[in-house]
């Protein structure tokens, strides 16, 4: 039974792999051929040579790295404030994060575009990463907050006796002790940005600057694109996050389900 379910889960991915290397005339056969016959890599060749897949992947990587750096730093600072300090406005700050996390980007992407036009920030990969960061930071904070809270109080007291300032405690104790959770935030931020489509397609208009999500979607809308080309693109774009997420699933689960904002 469970194997049947896993089969259903994995079949679309398997079918992607098979069709991508299948010769076009085989994919049109009826009934469908369920395994590769005489596999070839023409699709991969086409998506990289005829389309700018290489450039698109680099663009996605660039936006995602900037998003990751920004998200990691700001989430560390935010989670530190939420987990180790008493301050007025803490509750309001948590609420703001929660609301941002749940907000569908589609509701405000048009006003954001207007603001970006006025600032001359459109069609830029660097400023695109700012928007991606804004929407993924809440998740980052929720992943880090319980990890920071788990650092024993005694460690902190000892550090203070040794003359550590609050920022010193963060830098020398909390960050090293919580590095697995911080790494998880990095991975989540990277692939949130990597997978994002709507904001990217709204902000970026030059084809050479397309991130892979936008590049693939535009290739998809050209109806004469062979399915092997499209699926090859989906493979090189889609499999890296799948492989990495398998390693960090534990943290992702806690971050997505632990939106506790009580201080």
């Amino acid at each position: 039974m469970i194997f049947l379910v896993s089969l259903l889960v994995i079949f679309p991915l398997y079918w992607m792999l098979v069709t991508a290397v299948q010769a076009p005339e085989v994919t049109l056969r009826y009934p469908p051929v369920l395994y590769p016959i005489d596999p070839n890599i023409k699709g991969f060749h086409a998506i990289f040579i005829e389309k700018q897949m290489g450039q698109w992947l680099i663009n996605s990587g660039f936006v995602a790295i900037l998003t990751t750096i920004l998200t990691s730093i700001l989430s560390i600072l935010g989670a530190y404030a939420l987990s180790w300090f008493k301050w007025r406005g803490k509750m309001a700050f948590g609420l703001m994060l929660l609301f941002t996390q749940m907000l569908p980007e589609a509701l405000i992407v048009i006003p954001i575009f207007k603001i970006y036009s006025n600032l001359h920030w459109t069609d830029s990969l660097a400023t695109l990463s700012l928007i991606h960061a804004a929407f993924v930071i809440p998740v980052g904070v929720w992943i880090l907050k319980p990890a920071f809270e788990g650092v024993p109080k005694e460690v902190n007291e000892a550090a203070q006796i040794d003359g550590c300032t609050p920022m010193g405690v963060l830098r020398k104790i909390i960050i090293p002790l919580c590095s697995p959770a911080i790494l998880a935030v990095g991975v989540v931020a990277f692939f949130a940005s990597w997978g994002e489509y709507l904001i990217a397609v709204t902000m970026i208009s030059t084809e050479g600057k397309y991130p892979a999500s936008v590049g693939l979607a535009s290739t998809m809308s050209q109806l004469d694109t062979p399915i092997q080309t499209l699926l090859s693109g989906a493979i090189v774009y889609g499999l890296p996050p799948v492989i990495l997420y398998m390693f960090i699933q534990r943290f992702v689960i806690s971050g997505l389900t632990a939106g506790a904002i009580k201080g």
Binding site: P32, F85, P111, I115, L130, L216, M220
Partner: protein
């Protein structure tokens, strides 16, 4: 844990400095755009409006026309149906599969790792796969239409109600394996001695599930139901790139309505008004989430 952590430091300025960058970012990219959307929704602005064209303040006229617009009311219905079906099918399938996997067997670790795959797979890549699979002429599911007792010759993504069914199935494929993993973690937290005690007392498997397992995974269940609802409510790219909201406007959820009203029908003001309705929904969902959290915390302590 809570009390201990909150009393570690008291520092007058530092927490504000720490959170300032986030606050600035959210102010610029969330709060300010929201005020713009609210303002635009009170005017008669169109997408093609020239820079010097006079924009009139029309009060609540856009909201009034929404109330009388059958497309908008249909869009609300579609959003709710889509979200609720997501909750029922994805969370339900997640729970069922978790119960199945919650036994020791060979290859369990592998299956768990495999279950994260669809969740991590990017939306656009998933769209490409499903468009191919559902292709009416050559798709591996699409060609089944010759053998089905009902007429799907209009295409799985281009005729009703199959387009709606297709986006439900896609969302389900993408989310239920993840919910399954979360349920599994919760199931493994159910104390074994309780289950054993129930067995000794003569409880059958179904009764054991009802009296022991279900109460202890209830918080997870409610949380995932809410998460599934939020996921469905936010979902844009998978629907937009498969059906575009069509056929007609049969799969146009609220977020697609905001986009299509602006870019297909050029009515920026009306689009903003729909957006504001969406913002109110988001707020209500966030409040529900909070209420749930505090209840869970109370029951923990």
């Amino acid at each position: 844990m809570k009390n201990r952590s909150s009393s570690r430091f008291f520092h007058a300025k530092l927490p504000y400095l720490l959170t300032l960058p986030i606050i600035l970012l959210v102010a610029l990219l969330v709060v300010y755009p929201i005020t713009q959307a609210i303002w635009t929704s009170l005017t008669d602005k169109t997408l093609g409006a020239a820079v010097d064209e006079k924009i009139n303040f029309v009060g609540l006229r856009n909201y009034n026309s929404l109330l009388h617009s059958s497309t908008f009311l249909a869009s609300l219905r579609i959003t709710t149906t889509y979200a609720l079906l997501n909750v029922i099918f994805s969370v339900g399938a997640g729970l069922l599969t978790a119960i199945l996997v919650n036994k020791k067997f060979k290859g369990r670790g592998g299956i768990r790792a495999l279950m994260t795959a669809p969740w991590a797979f990017p939306d656009i890549a998933s769209v490409i796969i499903f468009i191919w699979i559902l292709n009416s002429a050559f798709g591996v599911i699409g060609i089944l239409n010759q053998h089905l007792p009902f007429d799907t010759s209009g295409g799985w993504l281009t005729s009703s109600p199959y387009a709606f069914i297709s986006i439900i199935v896609m969302s389900m494929w993408k989310t239920f394996p993840f919910y399954s993993i979360v349920f599994l973690a919760a199931l493994q937290g159910v104390p074994e001695d309780l289950t054993e005690a129930a067995t000794v007392d003569g409880a059958g498997p179904f009764q054991r599930f009802k009296t022991v397992t279900l109460p202890s995974i209830r918080p997870t269940f409610v949380l995932l139901a809410l998460l599934a609802f939020i996921f469905a409510f936010r979902q844009f790219s998978m629907i937009y790139l498969t059906t575009g909201g069509g056929p007609e406007r049969d799969t146009e959820t609220l977020v697609l309505a905001v986009y299509n009203t602006a870019f297909k029908y050029y009515d920026l003001a009306l689009s903003s008004a729909i957006g504001v309705v969406g913002l109110i929904f988001t707020f209500l969902i966030a409040v529900a989430f909070l209420a749930l959290q505090s209840r869970a915390e109370k029951s923990n302590s």
